[in-house]
Point group: C2
């Protein structure tokens, strides 16, 4: 069976080369039968394809020179998006020409287009964006990371059910533990939405609820899944990215600033490299919008080839594991 993936080759900060070289890297060790449809400007993509022989063999190019106007409002961008590389890539999934789409483009627009064309399951108002974080023990899945700014308690329950399906694929764990992100662990903490959600989680047969957790728990790994609204999740995500970058830079500065530092770095390098690899968000790049009837994977806006390769690997995994069907089943059981 051939897995077919639509690629928005224009979306990222680094342009099509990161995207194409990323797929190429992935293909070097891939064993599945894959086909990629590349949506983008042929003037940019054709020269790159000659440098990516694996990809060239298993891809077609759909010339689509129009790009999302990142300066326009969300509404305008969506209105004008039908003919852009992102819009065409997304609608190819809606038309069943491809089984999944990957884009590094603006999250809000990509989500809106995915919702408009691919559609969400009937109970789902808007899809949500999950993300994995490294933790002291295993990995933690957090959701939503930015798609849904304001959430009702009921929406947080949907997030928990969908995240649970997703985590069962990626963590290979049935009945993963779930917590709600709050500013304290006591029952009275947080706003009405969180307190009401806590009661619903507690009483839900399909949610293995463990209570409130705080920002300091995200990287501990005591809990498999942390549920939060998209505003808070996005703040936490980017705060972690910033903290990792901060540590990396001050370590680098100290190591570079003296002879002893340089010697220390030389000796400690293998260990530091392992640590930075764990902190490197590129290893965790790529996340599907959950709640869609198809697979749309958001890759980070500044994805380099390594990061994009990871998003491709994830996408293939999600196609194989039939992510949307699993989520539909989970939501269906809980009507």
């Amino acid at each position: 069976m051939v897995f077919k993936i639509a690629i928005d080759a224009a979306g990222g900060d680094l342009g099509p080369s990161a995207v194409l070289f990323g797929i190429e890297d992935f293909l070097k060790s891939n064993k599945d039968q894959l086909h990629f449809t590349l949506f983008g400007d042929e003037n940019e993509i054709l020269p790159l394809l000659s440098q990516t022989p694996y990809l060239q063999k298993c891809s077609t190019l759909h010339h689509s020179p129009n790009k999302i106007d990142r300066d326009s409002t969300l509404l305008n961008a969506i209105r004008k998006s039908a003919k852009t590389s992102m819009g065409l890539a997304v609608s190819s999934v809606a038309k069943k020409e491809n089984q999944a789409v990957i884009s590094c483009g603006e999250t809000g627009i990509f989500m809106a287009l995915s919702k408009m064309h691919i559609k969400t399951f009937s109970d789902i108002d808007r899809p949500a964006l999950p993300g994995f974080f490294p933790a002291l023990k295993g990995k933690t899945l957090m959701m939503d990371l930015g798609a849904n700014i304001e959430c009702t308690p009921n929406r947080l329950v949907q997030f928990a059910l969908m995240a649970s399906s997703y985590a069962s694929i990626l963590l290979k764990k049935e009945n993963p533990t779930i917590a709600l992100l709050n500013i304290g662990t006591e029952d009275a903490k947080g706003d009405d939405v969180l307190r009401e959600a806590a009661i619903m989680f507690e009483n839900h047969p399909d949610i293995n609820y463990k209570g409130f957790v705080e920002g300091s728990d995200i990287l501990k790994g005591r809990i498999d899944i942390i549920i939060t609204d998209g505003f808070t999740g996005n703040i936490a995500l980017k705060t972690i990215e910033g903290a990792a970058e901060f540590v990396y830079k001050i370590l680098s500065n100290f190591f570079a600033s003296s002879i002893r530092g340089k010697l220390s770095y030389f000796v400690a390098r293998p260990i530091l490299k392992k640590v930075f690899k764990i902190l490197d968000q590129r290893t965790y790049n790529g996340a599907p919008f959950l709640g869609l009837k198809g697979i749309a994977v958001k890759s980070h806006g500044n994805s380099d080839a390594k990061a994009f390769a990871h998003a491709v690997e994830l996408t293939v995994n999600l196609i194989k594991e039939k992510l949307p069907e699993r989520i539909q089943a989970k939501l269906g059981e809980n009507k």
Copy 2:
């Protein structure tokens, strides 16, 4: 002139010893004339005082064995708080017996008691909690860190004015730069409150507004002050604490897990220690509730002696610099 400080000696997770040894540490290098009134259980405190000779010389003990019941609801705790060490310490400031109070107790209760007894300025509904973070360039002040879960645009403006007064003392900078924490830098990002606040900040003569920033900007230091509601600020604060702890633990694990690791640590130790010192939140411990007519400094619940010493140093500084008067002046100019 003698600066008089009330100490809630019972509040922290580590009990009175961290508090008393912290003050003792501070006193060893202090040059000001200080007097401490210690509120707590004499059975716990008297044995410790014999081990803290500097503090013994400049303190009186106010026997107050009742502690805040951390398991009761906020409302109950406040109701029963008058006779607790925290309640008595706070009201001693309201009665002008002391110029400031420090507590490691529960933030919500400490703030409620401070508001009830010390009172806020007329425009201020609830005080707010600021905090400094280490940054690649200088330090960043973020506020609110947990006192005000939901905020109107107008309240965020008050935060900006108060944080600006506070930062001008601690950063020695007039007209510090100010940004709003959001999930993107574009004008359309965030909810109505943030977008409305942005317009008010932009047009305010006393706010040196630089736009929206994201979680990844907190530790960059491009901006002096980042304003946010207390829920988001608390999530970001604890996420940074968790990330620092995470890095510390994985580095330690890797260094301890092999001979090469141990050798590397031995060589790199001086540099790693400098880095961990920067990451160590204890260096930044202590923050006043801004908007109060007096000085009430919240010390972290798990403050050790070193952290508490920092909170004492900060408190003395704020008394000297007349923090409440400065904030009143700033708010008064902007009526």
